[in-house]
């Protein structure tokens, strides 16, 4: 594969100036160093949340939980 295909590319997105100012205000004390990094974080959160909702499934059933509890009892972790 060509090395260029591996590069993470960046693009510019325009947002209204007042919104950028609000973001700057909101960023204070958060550890983010620029509006871009904060906006990237927010977008990642939003996208990740939507994707995980779409994919969401029950972690484990009641039956599975009972089996886990039995193993935990066998190992002495619970009474």
């Amino acid at each position: 594969m060509n090395e260029d295909e591996h590069k993470v590319e960046y693009t510019t997105v325009s947002i209204p100036k007042p919104l950028a100012d609000k973001v700057k205000e909101r960023m204070k004390g958060t550890g983010f160093s620029s509006v871009s990094s904060y906006v990237t974080y927010v977008l990642r959160q939003v996208l990740s949340s939507i994707e995980s909702e779409e994919k969401s499934k029950q972690a484990f059933t009641k039956d599975e939980e009972d089996k886990v509890k039995q193993r935990l009892r066998d190992l002495g972790y619970i009474d």
């Binding site: 594969m1 959160q45 193993r71």
Partner: protein
């Protein structure tokens, strides 16, 4: 309880009927042997310790992680989890083929659907992840020892790799049920690769003071020469917990993975794994997962500032010591006394005492812990 990283606890176990069907047709698949470290990766992916990973990284995720420390799906991840292969091996299979990953004894561990076969730059990998190309760094050496190609793809578990300590091997689903059963809402994790001295006990109990439970989770697996042997770490913790900890507030369980010594990046990785186990806090000490002088003593603290979306909170401890004036364990934020009054729990001094067959001072290590270590003729990895 905290959600798993990426919001879904991954489980790559196959239904029995499907597993039996594949195992019955095993000779029809190309198979590839993997080393014990990769076997552990397969297990960790399969049971969700590495959630949201569902397999070995393809080139897109590899590059995103190297460059951004995020996966392509926008979830933080600090270093590549990859499967290497020889040029020769990659000629035997192609994209969308299913191959069997076997352990060194030939037991099938997983079936992998190949989604990518790609070249990679070892120098770029080592420099980006470890910040050095010095082959004395064990992580760098591991990268240089990888074969020339990487293969990516989703895996499904066929047989669970054996545990080193089966009675202490809890999977994320099990720890989550356990914490719930114990009514622990807030849990702090403690990562370790050493037997405990009084400084460790101090930070663990300090962390526990503010939450419901303490999850002591030693890393078990390949370590560098001179590190403590796994069984020494486990038995010394059992001795400490038995004598000095409230048993309803502590869980000891193993985390089977190799140490990469990636310092700050490994601290993020350790935090993610513990989040998947159900912990919402993790104790990060001085030079966490460091080796030699490759990282600053608090680099592993600072890196968390770049990941405000990680979910799990670091409890950052600076260096701690036994102050002769305060007559207790302190750290530099809470003690005004000068360095000459501090005993810094120097690893070297503890090792020297143990190697000479003597218990370290009572100011440094509990006698029950020292007794366990001294039972071993050689407690260190050779």
């Amino acid at each position: 309880m905290i959600k798993p990283h990426g919001n879904t606890l991954i489980n790559k176990e196959l239904p029995n009927t499907e597993k039996e069907r594949i195992l019955g047709e095993i000779d029809e698949f190309f198979s590839k042997k993997v080393n014990p470290q990769t076997s552990k990766v397969i297990k960790n992916i399969s049971f969700g310790v590495f959630s949201p990973l569902e397999g070995f990284m393809d080139s897109n995720n590899y590059q995103y992680v190297l460059k951004e420390m995020y996966l392509e799906n926008n979830v933080a991840w600090p270093f590549p989890i990859v499967l290497d292969a020889t040029e020769e091996e990659t000629k035997a299979f192609g994209i969308d083929d299913n191959i069997i990953l076997m352990n060194e004894k030939g037991t099938p561990l997983a079936i992998m659907n190949i989604s990518d076969i790609y070249n990679f730059d070892k120098k770029e990998f080592a420099q980006t992840i470890y910040g050095t190309l010095d082959r004395n760094h064990p992580g760098v050496e591991s990268v240089y020892n990888l074969k020339e190609k990487l293969i990516g793809g989703e895996i499904f578990l066929l047989n669970e790799p054996a545990s080193i300590f089966p009675n202490l091997d809890l999977k994320p689903m099990e720890t989550r049920v356990l914490f719930k059963q114990k009514k622990w809402d807030k849990v702090v994790a403690f990562q370790t690769r050493n037997p405990p001295h009084l400084g460790h006990e101090y930070i663990q109990k300090a962390g526990l003071t503010y939450v419901d439970g303490l999850f002591i989770n030693p890393v078990i697996g390949k370590k560098k020469v001179g590190d403590f042997k796994d069984e020494v770490i486990i038995e010394s913790y059992q001795a400490l917990i038995n004598e000095y900890y409230p048993k309803d507030r502590v869980v000891l369980s193993t985390f089977e993975t190799e140490m990469r010594y990636a310092g700050p990046k490994e601290a993020i990785f350790h935090a993610i794994a513990r989040k998947n186990y159900g912990c919402d806090h993790i104790i990060i000490g001085r030079d966490h997962a460091g080796v030699g002088n490759y990282y600053g003593p608090y680099d592993a603290h600072d890196i968390f500032d770049k990941f405000p979306d990680l979910g799990i909170e670091p409890i950052k401890f600076r260096s701690f010591s036994k102050c002769s004036k305060c007559d207790t364990v302190v750290n530099d934020k809470i003690c005004p006394h000068p360095p000459e009054m501090q005993n810094y729990f120097a690893g070297r001094e503890i090792r020297d005492a143990l190697q000479a067959g003597k218990p370290p001072s009572l100011e440094v290590m509990r006698p029950e812990v020292a007794e366990v270590i001294l039972r071993y003729e050689n407690p260190f990895v050779e």
